[in-house]
Amino acid sequence: MRVTNMVPDIQYAMQQSQQALSAALQQVSTGLRVNQPSDDPTASANMVVSLAASAGVDQYTSNISSLLPQMNTADAAISSIVTSLNTAITLGTSGATGTASASNKQDIAAQVEGVLSGIVAQANSSFQGVYVFGGTATTKPPFVAASSTFTSAQGSAGSPLAATTALTAGSITTISDATTGDTMTFKAAAGDTVATLSTAIANAVAAGTLSAGTSATINASGQLAIGTNSSSAGIVVSSNDAALGSMTATAGSQVANAYAYVGDSTVNTVQVGSAMNVASSISGGQLLTSGANVIGSLNSLITALQSGTSAQIGAATTAVSDALNHVSQQRIPLDNSMGRLNDQESYLGQETLTLTSQQTSLVGANLADAATNLSRAELVNSAVLAAAAKVVPQTLLDYLK
């Protein structure tokens, strides 16, 4: 073929070799084979999915890191509670012997009161502001000293509340009973009045949720008073109903050694794997006031030590022992969850490695190949430039005189 001008071919060759050099340089400098979707559309799309999976794994790991300290706090608290209950059992056993004097029993009762107080303190443990035994109610201490009567902020002698006083639709009033360990939650509907609330309380008493005698009345000051009508039965009342105002314990009505659980009976679960959820804690109500009631059994022991017979003290001590077994039983799922979290953390670590490896194979450059490509591209580019420098200036005119 007749060749007239080699410049366009040389320019094309230089362009090609410089593009190859640029691509090889980019691979070596970034360590990536795919820097933009057009470099490898399939790998780029798979990378999007893989990065999302990585973000999920990172998040699960982060969730475990958040959960484990909370669960450790709960476990440590339960451990302390177990120790305290063993102490209470020892005290009860010593009080049940016929040799203990009345004075000794009073001293022992005082010590058991201290144990109870300590257990409640442990049950109110928190980690970074999260009350670990509050169920889903994690922002306030789950165990509160109970009183026999609570009165509303609203209402006065001059402007008393009445049975017909309308409640605010959607407002919630809760009554937590220290004796039953249950909580009644009343959500006011449109048209509900104080009388509706009173009826709901009566129904809760009938159902055993609240202690017998618990009722709502309008007191002499025109306020709504919710009480147990017993100096030994305590409740905790709260309300966000503007028609009632905040409910506060009536002065002097606190019941000794009575603590109501104001937390939630349900606990949150947290996802720590694509198909793995764990309960973040256990409910304080389930731990201490349901089944073999820890607080109730300690109260019974205190009462027995203060005024009961040796047999009654022995029976109360046995009840505490049952409560200890209950607590130990409740600890098992928590410990199991912690074990699963530790295993899952290890698995996620492996998963992170797998995904990182997958991502490297998707978009990463093989450094040995990249370096070889760079050397080859450098060589080709040098050769093209050298050839261009030799060929372009050559013409017949150089040889004509």
Partner: protein, 459 residues
């Protein structure tokens, strides 16, 4: 018997032929780097012989004229390949500007989507945490912004291409006018049996320039070229050029009309205009529809999950995202609807500390959208398409560049000027001229001797 005068005439003709050939060589050298120039050659022909005393005697050389050397087939192939290349380049240029938006970064849609689900998961460990709730809102805003940015990139690219349509049409009209103006000159040259030469070179170069703008069918006649678009819309016939015009269509985009006012936009292919229209009317709208669908379906799914739960006040969850009522414009219009972290419907039972509904929000990540894929996979498909479209345009551009180089080499082998060849020709014709001049000089000497024959005898 041939006379000295006849020989002198032959030598003078030879001088003229060599001089003409030198002029052609000179012109070739001068235009060696002129785009579109086809080398010319001098047509030299042996002069008719005469019968002199029973012998046939040659009468030298005659310069018949000059001829441009062309290969019409290769020229047509170059025009067609140029149309393909320009179309691919136009698409590639727009895709290269779109691609960074869909490249994995700290702010692309995929990353922001993952970040949002991560923040929801974090909130599940402490659903009453205001800071964690705020992180969910921020992540939602970042994701909405990523959708907005991607949509804005596509629409602003589309707007830029729309402007380009008007510019291309204006350029096409300018070139077709120039081509039409050359047709009468070519017709005149053809009528007198002359080679098109420079005028035809100019016209070929203009047709090539036109090929960079749009696909044209070229028909060569004795009256010059006839040009039509791919669908037969005439652009140049004889000395007349038929201008294209633009008008704003119902979609707000420039539509191309032929001289009869018929909308020919969809039929224009190839060249910068064809590639621009393809990217503006098909490629980008296709991507935009997918992006809008993803934004709409994702926002709707999150809102549906939000509606299943309760906020920190115990009220039913309200929309998390403001999602436009129509799919079109959803990516541009999506925004976060709630302003307070307490409005996140984390609770499944109305209590503030419950995180039960966050599982519903998280589940959107793995739930199939009405489009048939999860949000992540839908976005991954979009990334694949952007990458694939860019890679295909790049491959086509690269392939046509190589093909064009080869075709240009082919054309150059026929029509191109070789400085070396022309230098050799220069020597050849210089020598011929010198030799002819020597003949003239010799005959002149013979004349002198002949005329002095009598004078010398008298002395």
């Amino acid at each position: 018997m041939a006379s000295l005068s006849t020989s002198l005439l032959t030598a003078v003709q030879s001088l003229g032929a060599a001089s003409g050939a030198l002029q052609v060589t000179n012109n070739n050298i001068a235009n060696a780097n002129t785009p579109g120039y086809s080398r010319q050659v001098a047509i030299l022909q042996e002069a008719a012989s005469t019968n002199d005393g029973g012998f046939s005697v040659g009468n030298g050389v005659v310069l018949e004229g000059f001829q441009s050397i062309r290969d019409e087939l290769v020229q047509t192939q170059i025009q067609q390949e140029t149309q393909t290349q320009s179309g691919a380049n136009a698409e590639l240029a727009s895709m290269q500007q779109i691609q960074p938006t869909f490249t994995t970064s700290s702010q692309d849609i995929g990353t922001e989507m993952s970040a949002m689900f991560s923040s929801i998961s974090t909130l599940s460990t402490n659903p009453t945490s205001s800071a964690d709730g705020q992180a969910v809102l921020t992540a939602g805003q970042n994701l909405a912004t990523a959708f907005n940015t991607a949509s804005s990139t596509l629409t602003s690219q589309q707007a830029g291409l729309n402007t380009q349509v008007g510019q291309d049409v204006s350029e096409i009209n300018h070139i077709t006018q120039q081509i039409a103006a050359l047709n009468p000159q070519i017709a005149q040259l053809n009528a007198t049996g002359q080679n098109g030469g420079t005028v035809e070179d100019q016209q070929n170069q203009l047709v090539l320039e036109l090929s960079t703008l749009t696909s044209v069918a070229v028909t060569k006649t004795a009256n010059g070229v006839t040009l039509t678009t791919g669908n037969g819309t005439p652009l140049v016939v004889g000395s007349g050029s038929f201008t294209l015009s633009t008008t704003t269509g119902s979609n707000g985009m420039q539509q191309v009309l032929d001289q009869n006012g018929t909308n020919v936009t969809a039929s224009l292919t190839g060249g910068d205009l064809g590639g621009t229209i393809q990217a503006r009317d098909k490629t980008i709208p296709g991507l935009l529809t997918q992006l809008d669908t993803l934004a709409n379906q994702f926002g709707t799914a999150i809102n549906a999950a939000q509606a299943k739960g309760f906020n920190q006040s115990g009220s039913a969850g309200q929309d998390f995202f403001n999602v436009p009522t129509t799919v079109a414009g959803s990516a541009a219009g999506i925004s976060v609807a709630i302003t307070d972290p307490s409005q996140i419907a984390a609770s499944s039972d109305g209590t503030a500390g419950s995180n039960g509904n966050l599982a519903n929000l998280s589940a959107v990540q793995t739930t199939t959208l009405p489009g048939g894929e999860t949000p992540g996979n839908t976005y991954a498909n979009l990334v694949y398409q952007v990458g694939s479209l860019t890679a295909n345009a790049s491959a086509e551009s690269g392939a046509t560049t190589a093909s064009l180089l080869q075709l240009n080499d082919q054309l150059s082998s026929v029509s191109g000027v070789s400085i070396d060849q022309e230098s050799a020709n220069l020597i050849t014709y210089q020598t011929a001229y010198e030799a002819a001049a020597r003949v003239v000089s010799t005959i002149q000497g013979l004349f002198t001797i002949t005329l002095s024959m009598g004078t010398a005898a008298a002395e």
